[in-house]
Symmetry: D2
Subunit: 131 residues, 4 copies
């Protein structure tokens, strides 16, 4: 499943190099993830309301070209079916000219909000991916 | 009661104007507040552990001179004795040469974490100020 | 001139109180400002490309109700015609139910990017407001 | 060369899971890097003053345990001698009890600030590592 969304680089996200700070990308990837989950019919906020959290376990970003202030960044997000307690998102970021800005992989873990321990992906979530 | 602490401007807090972003200052003021409360013997984390929160009700910042990357910013924080449910911090920020960078005033409200309703300042907190 | 835009509260903008951090609002106000200027036909990025910067001189925010994760926040931005080197934006933030979340006032200064000194508002910018 | 520094988790860096947001770590790693370079006698600000920038090319973070509000996080930073235009930092983050919170690897590129093109690591920088 691939989903596409867009963010606009905010002034506060740039640094004095005149480009989006490398630490702004986790926020962008979060938007990609959250909108992909909403599109699939499983908003992250709804998961959390059921007592399920999805902390990040691993983050990898490769930066190819800088993202500029006020430019629109297209985020392509691919979710793979959850395996056990693990959920993996892959992201590709593009500028308005279609040039590749970055690629990223984010691995999250389903966690029970009460016990704060890993748990298997909820059945209805898994089922969404077999359809 | 006036307390002094220092922060160093991070690269991620600068923007493409080459100065600390105006939106980084609330984080700096938070450091000033938190260290002033720790110095007084009432760390904010301890308050929160007792079920008391201190959300911000009002923020005012005047910016005089830019704070530069990697520079040390001295934060002078003055707390006035709490009145009812209200707690007010005043801040003055200086650069390494002693020039005034900004002045700020932050008004917070004591809130019961359960009910999320305003509450009077805890007695021991008020007592700290009458000593 | 009043302009309306919307942001969605990101997870990274919440804090452990479970609401948008008070320091996230300057970013939201920036979005309000930037979109209002774009709507008026004078994007901030275009100003900067002409060697004009608009640092913030004064910030005031009153917080009435918390902004929640993943909620849409409507930002109403009013610009008043620039006076001398000064530009003032007023903002009102609302949640999806129409409740008032916050009100803010941001005062910016037109600055020459070379000299880093205040300058009068550019004529074409002023003219936009007399129409 | 291994260097150790410390940061304290700010309230604004937590999220509604009650832990430091995964996107706050790039800021922490930046502090580790910057303080390691300062210790070595080559502050990043001095490099930039000479027209050399160090944008991030690749970021990898593994998160083992959450970093909590107001806790001190110890950052151990290891720099390997620069190879060509590449500079690699490895980081290990620990909490106050000595438990491992995260491990990270950040790859940066020496870039000429004028041309914005990669350049070889400056000789004096390389020499620092052969001593």
């Amino acid at each position: 499943m691939t989903h596409t969304t867009e963010i606009r680089v905010r002034y506060g996200e740039t640094d004095q190099m005149g480009i989006a700070y490398y630490g702004a990308y986790p926020l962008y990837l979060e938007v990609g993830r959250v909108e992909a989950m909403r599109a699939v019919g499983m908003p992250y906020a709804a998961l959390e309301a059921r007592g399920i959290m999805l902390p990040v376990r691993k983050l990898e970003i490769e930066y190819f070209k800088p993202a500029l202030y006020d430019s629109l960044v297209r985020i392509e997000t691919t979710v793979t079916p959850p395996a056990g307690s693990r959920l993996v998102f892959q992201h590709r970021l593009f500028n308005e000219a279609g040039a590749s800005l970055a690629e990223a992989r984010v691995e999250l873990v389903f966690v029970d909000a009460q016990s704060r321990r890993p748990m298997r992906a909820p059945e209805d979530f898994v089922r969404l991916f077999s359809e």
